[in-house]
Subunit: 459 residues, 2 copies
């Protein structure tokens, strides 16, 4: 048995682990003890929720608060946390904790699943990740408590704060507040800003955390003037690229949302300027990866939905719990175009040259991801000819990028559409990991058959 | 003056020539003699029509038949024919006809504008193209006359047949029938099949015509059994790829249209099976490039619009009057994915290896084209928040791929939206030519600065 499992490829192990976790989760959520009073949820609903929680998507059939008891909500929280950290991390950490040494191949498996480059000192690497996660979630939980304990009392207040801290940091985007996400807190700077920071930190990826921490340590020790520019330049190329793309997307998104929705009375039209800015910023941050909302997405202009479809598609950064194409993958595409039009054969950025294989892989990932989106949207539109098309695109991209926001559509969909969404969530969550693994594995066994040059006219 | 013009890059010359032709066309269409009785068209409408005609798009503000006199319609026909053949071909042919020898640089300009690979014997090359065009259009005109002369009498019948033959072969998609395109001929096999053949021949590109003709000549001379497989294998890689992709797209499209719209009473639901098949086939053929319609696109299912958006985007083949990404460019992307997942480093197809530069250029063209589509759709959606989003996507892709089909939207758009459409048509028509030219030119002067390898984590 053990031998049989060990012969699986890493991708197969990852897929199997995720499916197993989703099934276990669905059974736990289906137990009578997990049900809220009066909940009508079927096993399929629980299965859908478990898939959504484990893939940290955030789409729900029926609101968590009205479906699950306190026990059920704890299950939700655990599934979300495990899914968010990545099953492989957990598996590895359990192995580590039990004192069993991982074989090199096991370590490589975990490392590839996490996009980690060097496998040295895996234990300390893992425990560092977990420490970051718990410290950041802990601080978020602590600060959010100041809002929710006065509102809901100790027990529910603490739990709500914990749930939202984890939901934000893992970019899952679930809540236990009801069916309108964070709409009640649209003008609350504390809730908006704390959750925004959690989402941003969670979505930027651990490569950037580690890099930031190490550069900070050197910077503090450094004598003389402490220039910010020097700090920035000390960061790795990857960190700088991820940060710059994230800043541009967030800045541009906030501006576009603010300008387009400025006078829309159904969204932010009636707010003061500061309130408009806060809502625009929060929506933009949460929209790229997390999926919490303070605004009703059935009421925004089509352009806003369109822009958010694009920004969801780009998504967060690698090595994070965020989904989507990823900021750095997107940057490879932009950089290729930029360099080609400059008449530069190499793909150069900030005095570095990107390898052709990396650029090529970026396009492969984009193409596969985009095809899956088209296929998902096509199936949803066949199943729901009466639903407005952009809402279906929104739902489809939201599932595949595991953002999990919905223009209040999920609940009204038929079972076939929900299965489509589940497949998209699953593919969106584990697709990139397994694709990266499979590309890396195939790279080792790459054939290189060269034939006569084929003349094709394109363009 | 001459010296000043000759210092322009080829791209600048192409852009300037097209703009000049559009302006001249708009003035001619605006003349009182060109107006139909009771036409209310403004100069802007004529300008829009001229742009649409020269770029062989086919979007109209007001129907040709109700806007222009017989004289005006002849102007339309000439603009469409010149635009279809490519301004550069015409310029070159005039120069040739006047006995002036073109300089090598001029020939190269025309050749690059036409995606022609070798510049040897340019005159005969050009006259061969023109001969093909006039022979095929002539046959189409002759056959179509049998339908339209009995219906409209000699004068109008002949003109209608000529107009549709040119409109079909140049993939322009205009008609002089009224405001419902070919809806009245939905069950007419002669009109549907003749125009389909014209569109297919026009959209496959002259590389394939020449190749087909040369292989045919050898095949006829060949002794022994004349196997079709041998014929197919004698075609160039480019021809085979263009033909296979076109066949797949047309076959799949016909099947999807038939299945999805099978029971839609507003489109083909009430037809007999043969009629359904004819309408599905015709719509699929015309939809990829030409834009003539027999079915009302305001009545189809969203999935059908979605599929047509994809198939318009892919478009026709290089060296043709069709727009879009192009069949072979699309094939490069599919082949890269296919080879990567087979663990094959090279992009191989049918015992040929495609150069990395070609694959890379295909992605560059795709990215630029797709970005333009997103930008165009975004602007249209900002300007028209109340129009259904998929209809705007349809209009935007229709303009940029110069298909020129509309779900009856163009007429009701405001002036800013129409300007957006004009820019898209123009960019879609000359963008790929100038991009190919500029990529080729830059390839010669390519810099190749290599820095330290940049480590980026993607996916
Ligand atoms: K999410
Ligand atoms: K057209």
């Amino acid at each position: 048995m053990r031998n049989w499992f060990s012969r699986w490829t890493i991708s197969q192990k990852i897929v199997a682990s995720f499916i197993l976790l989703i099934v276990i989760g669905s059974v736990l959520l289906w137990l009578p003890i997990s049900q809220a009073f009066g909940s009508q949820a079927t096993y399929f609903d629980h299965f859908f929720h478990s898939a959504s929680l484990v893939t940290v998507t955030g789409l729900v059939d029926t609101p968590i608060a009205q479906t699950y008891s306190f026990f059920g909500q704890i299950i939700c929280l655990i599934l979300m946390q495990i899914g968010g950290l990545g099953l492989m991390t957990i598996v590895a950490s359990i192995v580590t904790a039990f004192g069993k040494r991982m074989s090199l191949s096991e370590r490589l498996a975990v490392q590839e699943g996490l996009n980690r480059e060097d496998a040295t000192d895996f234990r300390s690497f893992l425990s560092t990740i977990l420490r970051y996660v718990f410290v950041i979630e802990g601080i978020g939980f602590f600060v959010l408590s100041f809002r929710f304990i006065p509102e809901f009392g100790w027990a529910k207040g603490l739990f709500t704060a914990l749930f939202l801290a984890i939901s934000g940091f893992t970019n899952a985007g679930f809540d236990t507040l009801g069916s309108n996400s964070l709409a009640a807190y649209v003008h609350d700077p504390l809730v908006n800003l704390v959750i925004s920071v959690l989402i941003i930190l969670g979505g930027i990826g651990f490569h950037v955390w580690f890099d930031f921490a190490s550069v900070s340590r050197n910077w503090i020790k450094r004598k003389g003037k402490k220039k910010l520019l020097y700090f920035y330049r000390s960061l790795s190329l990857h960190s700088r690229l991820a940060i710059v793309v994230s800043l541009i997307l967030t800045g541009l998104g906030t501006l576009l949302f603010l300008l387009v929705e400025y006078q829309n009375p159904e969204t932010i039209g009636d707010f003061s300027f500061g309130q408009k800015l806060l809502a625009s910023f929060f929506q933009t941050v949460t929209m790229r990866t997390a999926g919490l909302t303070t605004v009703d997405f059935t009421k925004v202009y089509p352009f806003t939905l369109f822009w958010f479809i694009i920004s969801m598609f780009i998504g967060g950064s690698p090595g994070s719990t965020a989904g989507g194409l990823k900021t750095t993958t997107f940057a490879m595409i932009v950089l290729l175009i930029y360099n080609v039009f400059r008449g530069q054969k190499n793909v150069n950025i900030w005095n570095h040259t990107i390898s052709e294989t990396l650029v090529r892989n970026a396009f492969v990932i984009f193409s596969v991801f985009f095809s899956a989106f088209l296929l998902g949207t096509g199936i949803l539109s066949l199943l729901n000819p009466d639903v407005e098309f952009i809402v279906l695109m929104f739902e489809s991209v939201s599932a595949i990028t595991t953002v999990g926001i919905s223009a209040h559509l999920t609940t009204s969909l038929g079972i076939m559409s929900k299965i489509t969404l589940m497949v998209l969530m699953f593919a969106g969550r584990i697709g990139p990991i397994t694709m990266a693994e499979s590309l890396a594995r195939k790279d080792k066994e790459t054939k290189n058959i060269t034939y006569a040059s084929g003349k094709i006219i394109i363009g």
